[in-house]
Structures are given as structure tokens and as C-alpha cells.
Subunit: 338 residues, 2 copies
């Protein structure tokens, strides 16, 4: 039995999450039961939603149990099988968690999915052709529903979700304005992803400066807003929303450590007859096939080039995750395990 | 020519609106041109949206011009006509403004509508069978879309809009919880309108007390919220919203004087995957026939008994309006002009 290194949640954060909330354990992989497969993980996905799971408070998902392996998306290769549905060597995507090996049962729908790596790199199934990509697709198509010529704004624009939002919106003939932290990220958003403009919130550090920059980048106002961060940036974008604007609320990373995150001017929802909707992509599995088809084509044809930040080895996962929460990653944050 | 007393906006409010923002003028009614009718107003409607028009700021409607007759809905009787479409004696509803007589042209679509007063009192066309009623219908049906068994909460529950929201929701098999200011209003909401419960915000004067009262009145949480007031009441209701809840934002009267009105916890939009939408009923004329049909039936069959607060004479309009903004009215606020 190979030895499996795992990261469990040892204790819950008080305020900011810290490295000591996690603990590294190791144990042999278990004997497989009938219908099970053993997957050697190649990559672990790190995503902001995991921060919410670390709290023991009411959220959209059950809290992560203490002492259990942290939840997380994984891609890898089947290395042992007692299932007729999977062969050794199959490349698969699943929710294997923060560990080197995962055991999955073929009787649980959707837990493990075979993927084609001929045209799409394996790691993309954790990003543009996975949960982040479908998140972008759902929020943009089902909530924002932008028309050609409208202006779409997205925060965390260089991230896995934001990148896909922008490329999908450009494909629909929209003007696309990103907001990201740092010149490098903004350059990538404009030059590689093809956004029309990107505003560096580290250069425009208050509402007044950001408002001015948004006026220039979105001279016709903003029709659609895809929100990943919340806080003062959301307040400022709200000032620039056009009548009948739509806002897809995907994340509010600014408030994940428990700090108060009031919205300054909700009256604008009425004044501008806005539609605002929060969503979680895992509750909309019905769109996955349609979304993955478009996203897969965009990736295979190199129109959607999601940057990756890659940490090495399972022991590096906690620090990489804490960095993600602070925006230290550049693009999709992964942990390489092989 | 009869003398027409009119109230114009003399100057704009700084903070709270005050009586000296208005001025009473009088002049003879003008000579009618071809296609025009002269309407003697029986009732003027006073509505919270008028406060927004008094400001010179960006809002959903053009600001009320200084020196012009205040905008407002009216019902009355045709007393002179140069139109083949209207006869003297016709009862009509229109937007005649804060004045005793109005001139309307029959070439402007929707400016004047003949109404049947055999089964429905004339004043109801300014309330349950008029703009407030259709406002309730649109927000409830097109945004909240409640299912039987769900819980609907509405603020300003004894007002013209709130009354209709509750009765329409009860007709759809919902549990209906009102929020209103004072025991008299709450008694009326429960005993006359038939709400399941009504919470007096003057008895429960902070978020903690209101939250507790809401827990008791809505033990299964709140699925639909029809918002007329904003502020701390909205913050508190938000805490009690169920997953996939819908919020129709119709008014935020608490912020109409320009005071900051932040929303404490917008992250709940994401946590509970809420849908929030602001709307103005005048932008949805397509629903009026369907809405008025149901509302007219509810009024004619006495199932929707909207209370009326009636001020006497056009000179009383400003004080009645200022009282409305402070919740001093009980039900639909009208000014009787004949």
C-alpha cells in the first residue's frame, strides 16, 4: 500500500485563517472494496470557497469537519481498480481532497469523471474546464445574460473564474473591464485574455480613485457585474451600474475572515432597478454539459489561457491556500502532487 | 373659468422635506384646445415616490421641476370636454398632479382612463386598483413568485402597497407576516386584511428584538420579502431569509431624506443564494390589465379593504405628505378635493 499524505483541518480560524489551522498526517491507502478505485492525484485545486467551509457557521455548505481531510477538487490517474467502469491509467477528475491519493466509489454519481487529455491539459479540468469555468459560465449566462455591446465588469479578473468570465463575455461581443491587484495581473488580463481594460486596485486604492478609473474604462456605465470580492470595490462598482443592470454574486472574499462587510448604498438597487443574485455552481449541475462544451472548445483553441500558480507537494497546500485568500496567486492556484 | 388652486415645488429639501418646500398658487383654468378635457379632481394620491422626485439627484425618474405643479395621481370627473372620447360626467383616473383641476389631452396614451364606479369606489383607483395595487402585484408575482406554503414578509404592511401584497399572497396559500408601526396598524393588518401575523416595529425597536419576533412569526424562515422601507428592518429580515429567497425592492423610505442607509450583511445574498430585484411599476405597463383584473375583483368582493387616510383640501397636501413620509398615515393617503 502506498503511503498517503493528507492535510486535515485541525482547528477553526479565529479571524484570518493561519497555517496552524491545518495538520499534515500520513497513513497507508486503504484496501479497495468492490466498485472502488484508487486515484493518484496529480493536482489539487485550491479555491476561495474552502475558506467558508473552515468556519462552523451557517453557510451554503456544511462546515468542514475537524480532523477530516480538507475538501477539494483533484485530477489524477487511476492506479488501482475494483470497478469495471475504470481502468488503471484512466485520467479522472473528482473531489479527492487535500491528499496524495483518493478512493472513490463508482456507485456515487458524479464523484469521478473520466476526462480526455488529448486536447486539454489535465490541470485545466480544475480550472477553465472545471468548477471555476462553469461558475463563470453560469453567473454570466444565467444571471448577467449580457447582450452584445453591453459592458461587463468582473473582479479577481486574473483568477480562474474571472478569466473565464471575461473571455466568455468577449465572445458575446461585450466590452469587458477587469479589476485585479497589480500591474502584472492587469497586463495579463488585457494582453493575454483580451479584456478591453483592467483596473489595478492596488493603484486605485479608494472608492474615489476606482470610480474615476471605472468611468474611463467603462464610459457607457456597467451593465453586468460578476462579483468575486465584495467590500469597497463592490460599493464603487455599484455607483457605476446602469439601469436594469445585473449582478452575479459569486464570492465575497473580502469578508471571508469574518470582518463586517456592509454595502454602502443598497438604495441604488432600487434607483437603478438592479437584479442581484447569489449562486453556487454545484446547485446547477444541469448547465455543466453545455458550459463545459463551450469552455473546452475555448481552451482547446487557445482562446482561454488560464494562468496557473503551482505549489509543489501536498505540504505546500496550506501556505498556497492562505496566499490565495490574500490574492498572492496569479491565475488558477494548484498544488502539484506528482 | 374656475379658479384652480395648485401646489408647486418651490425649493428642494436639504435633508428632511419640510412644508416650506411647497407653495400654494392659484390661477384660472386654461381654455381647452381641441382634444383636451378639463377634469375636476376628487382625490389626489400621495405616495412615497414623490419624495425622490423632490431631489435634484440621479434617481429612476426625472426630478420634479421647480415652480411646476407637483406630480401625482388623481381621480375625478370630466367637467368640460373638447374630445370626442370623453363626455362631461365621465369618471377618470390620471396623473393630474397636486391641483384642483387638470387638463389632459386625449392624444397622450394612458394619461387619462375612464373607470367604472358601480362596483369599485372612485378613490380605490388611486390605491388597490391603481398604481399601489399593481406595484404590489408586480413585485409579488414577477419577482417574489411565491409558492403555496411559503412565507412572505412585507414592510409598511398597512399601507396601500403592503395591504395588497398581503392579500394577494394569502390568496396564493402563503403564510404572510407584516411589519408595521403601531398596534392599531398591526391589528388592522391581522384582523381586517387577514395576515397571519404582524410585528410592530415601534414595540420591537432594534434588530435583536425584531429578529426574535420574526423567528416566532415566521418559524420556517422567510422565502419572499417585499421591501418598502430599507435600513435596519431590511438588515434584520435578511437574517431570516431562507435559501433561494426572493426580495422585491419597491421602496427604501428610510433613506429618502439622504441619510446613509448601508446594508449590514450583503454576504448573506451569497450564503443564501438570494435574488434581489429593484423595480418601478410604471416600467411594466404590460402587467397592468392582468393585475387590475385580480385587484378589482378582490376590492369588489371586499377581500381587499385598503384603509384610507384622507386629508381635506389641496392646501392640506404638503402636511399630509410629510406625515406619510413619517408613517403617520394609516393606509392609503389621499387628499379629498371636492
Amino acid at each position: 500500500m502506498p503511503i498517503n499524505q493528507q492535510i486535515v483541518l485541525d482547528n477553526r480560524p479565529v479571524g484570518d485563517a493561519v497555517a496552524s489551522n491545518f495538520k499534515l498526517l500520513s497513513s497507508p491507502t486503504p484496501e479497495l472494496k468492490d466498485g472502488e478505485v484508487l486515484v493518484k492525484h496529480h493536482y489539487l485545486s485550491l479555491d476561495p470557497y474552502m475558506r467558508g467551509r473552515m468556519n462552523d457557521s451557517k453557510s451554503y455548505a456544511a462546515a468542514q469537519a475537524l480532523g477530516e481531510v480538507m475538501i477539494g477538487g483533484t485530477v489524477g490517474e487511476v492506479v488501482a481498480t475494483k470497478s469495471a467502469k475504470y481502468a488503471v491509467g484512466d485520467k479522472v477528475v473528482g473531489m479527492g481532497g487535500w491528499q496524495e491519493y483518493g478512493v472513490a466509489s463508482d456507485s456515487v454519481m458524479g464523484m469521478l469523471r473520466k476526462v480526455d487529455t488529448a486536447h486539454i491539459p489535465l490541470s485545466a479540468y480544475l480550472g477553465a474546464v472545471g468548477m471555476p469555468g462553469v461558475t463563470a459560465w453560469y453567473g454570466l449566462m444565467k444571471i448577467c445574460n449580457p447582450k452584445a455591446g453591453e459592458t461587463v465588469c468582473v473582479t479577481a479578473a486574473s483568477g480562474a473564474v474571472g478569466s473565464a468570465v471575461g473571455v466568455l463575455a468577449k465572445a458575446r461581443g461585450c466590452r469587458v473591464v477587469g479589476i485585479a491587484g497589480g500591474k502584472d495581473k492587469c497586463d495579463y488580463v488585457v494582453n493575454v485574455l483580451g479584456f478591453d481594460a483592467c483596473i489595478d486596485y492596488k493603484e486605485h486604492t479608494d472608492g474615489k480613485a476606482l470610480n474615476k478609473a471605472l468611468k474611463e474604462a467603462a464610459p457607457n456605465g456597467i451593465d453586468c457585474y460578476f462579483e468575486n470580492v465584495g467590500g469597497w470595490i463592490m460599493d464603487t462598482v455599484l455607483l457605476r451600474m446602469n439601469a436594469f443592470g445585473r449582478m452575479a454574486i459569486c464570492g465575497m472574499i473580502a469578508g471571508y475572515n469574518g470582518a463586517p462587510l456592509p454595502l454602502a448604498n443598497p438604495a441604488l438597487i432600487l434607483v437603478n432597478r438592479l437584479k442581484i443574485e447569489g449562486f453556487i455552481v454545484s446547485e446547477h449541475m444541469e448547465v455543466w454539459p453545455e458550459a463545459l462544451k463551450e469552455l473546452g472548445t475555448l481552451v482547446a483553441t487557445k482562446k482561454l489561457n488560464v494562468r496557473e500558480s503551482i505549489a509543489e507537494g501536498i505540504a505546500a497546500a496550506p501556505e498556497a491556500f492562505l496566499g490565495l485568500l490574500k490574492g498572492k496567486n496569479f491565475g488558477k492556484q494548484l498544488v502539484k502532487l506528482v
